[in-house]
């Protein structure tokens, strides 16, 4: 048996990317070696550095190169509020609203029983510890409005209620500027179930 060539090894390695099958992995490998050696070297170096340096923030569980990330150490943020999100991308979305000045906790996932992702896999114990620092007064749950996100919100909320914390869930409904005519039926149905007094 012969050892895999460097080319095969590269194509094989590229398959760890989500949505990349054997064919696209091979195409990427050929592309890098045929047309973009400089890009290939840069990619290799960036991967090595990132894999070496990036770790989880001790406070928010998000990615950082420091012990505690910049956002978590910022004196401008309100440490009494903690917002729980599924992913770093969700954190950025909330940041863009400029409507929130508190701190975050990134679950790096959500409960998904069918995929075998439970409380241990998303580190709910880390969240419990983080929220119990004595400074946090309110935990705002901003997980997705999918069934998995709802399940996550429910158990996070039960866990933190039991520890005496105030827990809130971001509201949902018809998008801003959304005309009812163009809203999907599921969202509109949910907006009816979640209606509130005015």
């Amino acid at each position: 048996m012969k050892a895999p060539s460097s080319l095969e090894e590269l194509a094989g390695a590229l398959r760890c990317l989500p949505g990349v099958g054997p064919k696209s992995a091979q195409r990427m490998a050929y592309h890098l070696l045929q047309y973009d050696r400089a890009g290939a070297r840069r990619l290799a170096a960036a991967l090595t550095v990132a894999a070496e340096r990036v770790r989880r923030c001790a406070r928010c569980n998000g990615f950082t190169e420091l012990e505690v990330c910049e956002l978590c150490s910022s004196p401008k943020r309100d440490p009494a509020q903690l917002c729980v999100v599924e992913t770093p991308a969700d954190l950025l979305m909330v940041e863009q609203t400029l409507a929130y000045q508190g701190l975050y906790f990134v679950l790096m996932g959500r409960l998904s029983p069918i995929d075998g992702i439970g409380p241990k896999e998303i580190g709910l114990d880390l969240l419990a510890k983080r929220a119990a620092d004595g400074v946090v007064k309110e935990v705002i749950i901003a997980t997705n409005f999918t069934n998995e996100g709802e399940a996550t919100a429910h158990y996070v909320s039960e866990m933190l209620h039991a520890r005496g914390l105030k827990v809130t869930r971001i509201a949902r409904g018809v998008p801003l500027g959304g005309e009812l005519e163009f809203v999907d039926t599921g969202t509109l149905a949910q907006a009816f179930y979640d209606r509130r007094p005015t």
């Binding site: 075998g116 709802e150 039960e158």
Partner: protein, 240 residues
């Protein structure tokens, strides 16, 4: 089996969905008349895809698809209007039902009666009642539908009627077998509990506990080597 190129407005539920490529979704659907099918929902993960708010588990839908083979293409998904979404423990129970269907039902094998029981179970889970009897009733229907109807009123050794006062073990391929002394037997069931399960009456606490153990035994046997993640995760969540 004849393969039809196009199916229109099939009554169905989404059991599970996972991302596919950049913007698509593979939906594991359970339809009344065509059984379990995998559907490719193109563009369903684009930011403003209308499908997003429709392809949701535990809501009755009308699905249309086309194509042949393992993965069909979803053409249309229409909201039928069910009840409110499942919440809390009932939601976890819903995931459990879906996982049972995903792991125990073969693809493209319609089970109309079971579909109706599933729809009924989901509707009951959305209500305020207890969840355990809903799960037991569905598990029993699922086992029967898989050709494994429970034998609960006759002793498998002698064929005599189950005695409510006696203790039995349950041999998976045969049925209840009386035991002289319960010590050492792996799982034992009272005659009273077996008769309760046969009637679908889980109100007695002993029947409630033992029916759960019996279903677990039989389902594990059916699952062969597959594990049910939702069961473990539900247990993990109780310890939070």
């Amino acid at each position: 089996m004849t393969e039809r190129a196009r199916v229109d407005n099939a009554r169905a539920f989404v059991l599970h969905a996972y991302p596919y490529r950049e913007t698509s979704l593979v939906v594991e659907a359970y339809s009344r008349d065509h059984g379990r099918v995998a559907l490719l929902a193109r563009g369903a993960r684009r930011p403003r895809a209308a499908l997003r708010g429709t392809l949701i588990q535990f809501q009755p839908l009308l699905l249309s698809w086309a194509g042949k083979g393992e993965l069909r293409t979803l053409v249309k998904a229409e909201w039928v209007g069910g009840g409110p979404m499942l919440r809390g423990a009932a939601l976890l129970c819903g995931f459990y039902l879906n996982e049972l269907l995903l792991k125990l039902l073969a693809r493209e094998d319609p089970h109309e009666a079971l579909f109706d029981r599933y729809a009924e179970a989901v509707a009951r889970l959305a209500g305020a009642g207890e969840v355990a009897p809903v799960l037991r009733a569905f598990e029993k229907a699922l086992l029967a539908e898989l050709g494994y109807a429970l034998s609960l009123d006759r002793d498998a050794l002698t064929g005599s009627a189950i005695d409510p006062a006696r203790t039995y073990t349950y041999e998976v391929e045969r049925g209840p077998v009386p035991v002289a002394d319960a010590d050492g037997a792996a799982a034992v069931f009272s005659g009273r509990a077996l008769l309760g399960i046969a009637r679908g009456d889980y109100s007695d606490p002993e029947t409630a506990t033992q029916s759960r153990a019996l279903m677990r035994l039989l389902i594990n046997h059916r699952l062969e080597r597959q594990t049910l993640h939702s069961r473990r995760i539900f247990a993990d969540l109780q310890t939070l």
